[in-house]
């Protein structure tokens, strides 16, 4: 198993290096330097060239890439000229709130999807199961903003129960305590994930129910709820482990739409603002970190599955 894990780690590192080169070159081709944004629209070419030379944007691309990577590893993510602060400090202000939103969404989704999938499998093809499968299918086909808009309309406008704008507070504790404003954004993320998770949970539970050890447990006289809680949950949760690992990138990316819709001051909204302002250092750092999360998420999913499923370990 250690050999497999080491190989997997090696592949991930190669992919990380490849993707960092690709993204850096792509963004460099689009925005070669922030000179125009800093000096203004009236700057002439000589001023731009001088600024570029002074700030290291006139060097060959490879050298710029290597020095950027060097700085990145040491925690220096670049400097945002539009916001007049370092990119790292910009991220630091917002990372806690984004992590809370995605984390809460993920945890809630797992807590709901697990029993839901098992219920669907046990009562397979009944009315409840068909209704839930159809609902999951519709939710799965919906874009995130569609679900968000429907939730806002129903729960905040037609029946004024909850707030339609997320909490604007800068303190994480206030945000966590403000469920009136935060419930809808969290619910949006949760429902999208539940649609995906419950599908896999349902099919995995159906597979487990057909296994011999369930038959033996029932034959032994074990009450049904113990059969489900002792034997089924653990075995049917394996695909969920992979899915959670694969949801890690969404901790950064998927909230983009939700934060935009509910005006929640998180990393997603920072990305959207930087897009409009063409704030290239922020975009570069954000995309690179997003890519790191994708690779890390895949790696975690693989490792977690190898650890959780003994059948894989021996392969």
């Amino acid at each position: 198993m250690t050999a497999y894990l080491l190989r997997r780690l090696g592949t991930s590192i190669i992919v990380l290096i490849g993707i960092s080169i690709f993204i850096y070159l792509l963004l460099h081709a689009i925005y070669p330097s922030p000179a125009r944004a800093v000096l203004g629209l009236r700057a002439n070419n000589a001023q731009i060239a001088a600024w570029n030379k002074e700030n290291g944007y006139a060097r060959p691309v490879i050298e710029q890439y290597l020095s950027y990577m060097n700085a990145l590893i040491h925690g220096n993510l670049g400097y945002s000229y539009s916001n007049n602060q370092t990119v790292a400090s910009l991220f630091q202000e917002r990372v806690a709130r984004s992590a809370y939103l995605s984390g809460a969404g993920l945890v809630l989704a797992v807590l709901i999807a697990l029993p839901l999938g098992i219920f669907q499998a046990v009562k397979r093809n009944s009315l409840g199961d068909s209704a839930l499968t159809s609902a999951a299918f519709i939710l799965y086909s919906m874009p995130v903003f569609a679900l968000g808009l429907i939730l806002i309309q129903v729960f905040a406008l037609s029946f004024p129960l909850l707030g339609f704008e997320a909490s604007q507070s800068t303190s994480l504790w206030t945000v966590i305590g403000d469920w009136h404003d935060m419930l809808l954004p969290i619910l949006t993320l949760t429902l999208i994930s539940v649609a995906l998770f419950s599908r896999y949970m349902r099919s995995a539970s159906i597979d487990v129910l057909a296994q011999d050890y369930i038959k033996v447990a029932r034959a032994k006289g074990l009450p049904e709820r113990l059969v489900l809680s002792r034997h089924m949950v653990r075995n049917a949760s394996l695909p969920m482990v992979t899915l959670i690992g694969l949801s890690l990138p969404a901790l950064l990316a998927g909230n983009l739409i939700t934060e935009f819709l509910f005006n929640y001051q998180g990393l997603g909204l920072l990305f959207y603002n930087s897009l409009g302002k063409e704030d290239y250092p922020v975009l570069l750092a954000y995309t690179l970190i997003g890519a790191v999360f994708v690779v890390a998420g895949n790696l975690v999913a693989d490792i977690a599955l190898t650890v959780a499923d003994p059948r894989i370990r021996l392969a």
């Binding site: 792509l26 689009i30 299918f137 086909s141 874009p143 339609f164 983009l256 975009l283 997003g290």
Partner: protein, 306 residues
């Protein structure tokens, strides 16, 4: 010796001697089509898709909604006389805008899927057939592109190279080819061991001829299923990009763009700016997902009812 006996009934080749009908042998595609038609959701999906294609492309011939001239007197009219679905902030007719937006969405969806499947088929078949170091290198490149955070890169490129059907299709298709590449490589790895490939090689077929005439046509089932899902994903991606405000702009129309304008008025009660567009987006994507699921099930021989 059968003198005076009544002649036997004519030999009926469609009935077996003892009960049960014996159908004539049908080709694989006919069987898949039959399975597809049996799936009611798929038929509904095809119906919805056809409806949108017809309304969006043929509708403007019959219905002339004002989508080009600002008409501020009539701005923000609810659905009523002369405006079946109301008007938006500029006085443009919502139904006319929906049709134009639908044209853009469908065009971008199909073109992006075409780009994705072309690149994917190329990469996948070359990797699968060549094997060895070419295969490993191409698969590593595919892994790198798979790790690209799709929405971010598409947004950055859309902002920069913006806002036209062609550029959006190229950008979306250019980052969606990884999954078809993997699928087609898997299919090619299976197919290339078959005897007819060996026969073709013996007859002197070169690699490109093998790919064109033997490998890809036999991977067509997988490709068709994937293309359907690609179209759905591309339409979703365009909706996301448009919703954030970076899609097509006047005089072109984009469903996401309409929605982005409409959500500004969510609390003002102008429901006709939001819900019709949303329904169109969701229905189109759902229809394509139904069709894709049904296609996948109908191609799977194990699920055939016989």
């Amino acid at each position: 010796m059968a003198t005076g006996q009544a002649s036997l009934p004519p030999l009926d080749v469609t009935r077996a001697p003892e009960g049960g009908e014996v159908g004539a042998v049908q080709s694989g595609w006919r069987l898949a089509l039959r399975e597809f038609v049996r799936n009611r959701l798929a038929v509904v999906g095809v119906g919805i898709l056809l409806f949108f294609v017809l309304v969006c492309f043929l509708g403007p011939i019959f219905y002339h909604g004002n989508t080009l001239q600002a008409n501020l007197i009539n701005a923000h009219n609810p659905p009523g006389a002369g405006f079946p679905l109301g008007t938006d902030i500029n006085g443009f007719d919502i139904l006319g805008q929906l049709m134009k937006g639908g044209q853009a969405a469908l065009e971008i969806g199909f073109f992006a899927a075409f780009v994705a499947i072309t690149i994917g088929a190329l990469v996948g078949s070359v990797a699968g057939l060549a094997g060895g170091i070419v295969d490993t290198a191409l698969m590593r490149i595919t892994d790198v592109f798979l790790s690209v955070p799709f929405l971010f890169v598409v947004l950055i490129l859309a902002v920069r190279y913006g806002a036209s059907v062609l550029s959006l299709s190229l950008v979306i298709g250019g980052f969606s080819w990884q999954v078809p590449a993997r699928l087609i490589r898997g299919e090619v790895l299976t197919i290339r061991e078959r005897d007819f490939v060996l026969a073709a090689r013996t007859a002197g077929a070169g690699n490109w001829r093998l790919i064109r005439r033997h490998l890809l046509p036999n991977a067509l089932g997988v490709m068709i299923v994937n293309v359907t899902f690609q179209v759905a994903d591309a339409i979703l991606a365009v909706a996301y990009v448009g919703f954030l405000g970076f899609g097509l702009h006047y005089p072109n129309v984009d469903w996401g763009d309409m929605l982005s304008d409409g959500t500004g008025f969510l609390t003002d009660g102008y429901w006709w700016l939001i819900w019709p567009v949303l329904t169109c987006i969701v229905l189109t994507v759902m229809a394509l997902n139904f069709i894709g699921d049904a296609l996948r099930d109908s191609m799977d021989v194990r699920l055939r009812r016989r």
